[in-house]
């Protein structure tokens, strides 16, 4: 069953068609790759999917629900979470607090209870702590729970960003160039983390990536974007052998 269906999504910025007629269908549990040369419009697609940009045309459906013109928070609540190309953690907050920000919408007590430290406050905070620690353990970050996010090594910051996104309890996880700036060892560890997320949470993942080794190693299906348009779509192996795709990446002979 299709979890995400996108039909003819388009957006222009001042006459430049950044993304045109973008279509994609992602099934539940799939690991899908979105690739393409620099400036092809990959991150723009993510921003459209998460409501940061509103599309000029097209329809986005998540689990059958039309989320096309919803705002960012509602889309997050509907079940899409993401990470960023340039890591955007809350750097001055501790590791566990970053995750708790992601959890915040699922756990409730009133501001007055918070100010007075009364009522549900203690109970709910304890539940949040437990849930956050459970997540951190999955990502092997539990020993760093009180470290400031800014002081984590780069690879762990990436992991924490994924953990924070998972805290919002998404149906679909968007990863924007998770391997950017990583060395081969870190990339390998990241691939293991992504595999773990799939297994542990039964998660559907759409990821943007430049690292072909990572893409061919873990993605089942690929969509190639070039100049804002879908160049090729299908099983990873077929797509990577497509002459059009090779041309877009390597140029004409």
């Amino acid at each position: 069953m299709a979890l995400l269906e996108v039909n003819k999504l388009s957006i222009s910025f001042g006459g430049l068609r950044a993304v045109g007629d973008f279509c994609i269908t992602i099934d539940k549990g799939e690991l899908y790759g979105l690739i393409g040369p620099n400036g092809a419009g990959k991150t723009t697609v993510f921003n459209l999917l998460t409501g940061v940009y509103k599309p000029d045309e097209g329809i986005i459906r998540l689990d059958g629900e039309d989320i096309t013109r919803k705002n960012t928070i509602d889309i997050n609540h509907a079940g899409i979470a993401r990470t960023f190309q340039n890591i955007r953690l809350f750097k001055n907050m501790s590791v566990i607090d970053n995750v708790k920000v992601g959890l915040s919408e699922r756990f409730r007590y009133s501001a007055l209870e918070g100010i007075l430290h009364l009522g549900n406050y203690r109970k709910v905070e304890k539940e949040m702590d437990d849930e956050a620690m459970r997540l951190l353990k999955v990502f092997d970050l539990d020993k760093e729970r009180d470290t400031l996010a800014a002081n984590l090594p780069y690879g762990k910051q990436r992991k924490l960003e994924i953990a924070r996104a998972m805290a919002t309890n998404p149906k679909l996880l968007l990863l924007d160039e998770p391997a950017a700036g990583m060395n081969p060892n870190e990339t390998k560890e990241l691939m293991e983390t992504i595999a773990l997320v799939r297994k542990e949470f039964d998660m559907t993942i759409l990821l943007i990536e430049h690292d072909m080794k990572l893409v061919s190693g873990i993605c089942e299906k690929l969509t190639v974007l070039n100049f804002g348009r879908v160049l090729c779509q299908g099983e990873t192996k077929e797509v990577l052998n497509d002459p059009e795709v090779i041309k877009a990446y390597l140029g004409d002979e």
Partner: protein
Amino acid sequence: MSFLTYFINGLSLGSIYAIIALGYTMVYGIAKMLNFAHGDFIMVGCYIIFSVSRALSGNSIVAIIISIVLCTILGITTEFVAYRPLRGAASPLAVLITAIGVSYLLENIALLIFGADVKSFTSVIKWEGLTFADGQLRIQGVTIVTIVVSIVILITLQLFINKTKQGQAMLAVAEDRGAATLMGINVNKTIMLTFAIGSALAAVAGALLCSAYPSLSPYTGAMPGIKAFVAAVLGGIGSIPGAMIGGLVLGIVEILSKTYISSQLSDAIVFGILVLVLLIKPTGILGKQVQVKV
């Protein structure tokens, strides 16, 4: 002994500045705007206490509670009507100028309702205070209450911000509004809560200010508002302990320079210190040094 008396008075005035500065600094840190109408919320709070306690023939506790509730509503309304539509405006100046507009609006509404004459405000704190060392050192009740209240507020706020999910949401919004939204944090609600707390603090500060200096006019809030802003900048704007330290330093310097140097010069000295601190440490006493990588 007299030095100690003046010092404690300075501490008390500083505590009031600190409570006002907390409101300034929270709103700046989280909503990234300077609410120049903040000082006038104090004035509104004082007029509410003044009117209600008159109507209820001197029941000041009820008057204070009503004032806090109404000021909170005023803060939320101002944010909703005047500031929220301008969030995301091309220039941050738009909302700054609107805040100045709101300030004049509130002052002139008060002028219209209550007139320009100075009303004498009956202190809401009836306690006489304590006397030490055979009457040589007398500390007024309002002084003690002010200092205690400000300490309680500081601790409560720190606990709220660092230990609750609403506080964490505030920190997240302060750091990266976009990322916070994408993690499901309702930015509008968070900023509204910030204004609610800031305005409630303004009402508390109003009650203390007018009890210590019992005269009330439509411009009562203006000068303390500006001085509290100075205190927030002095301590490092956006920092809650910074606002507290800035407020205390300002209050003590003001009272001591009024006593020992000249009462006309005291404001000049206060603002001179601001200039000096900013020349030496532009981010304020507790402000974070932001390093820009090239």
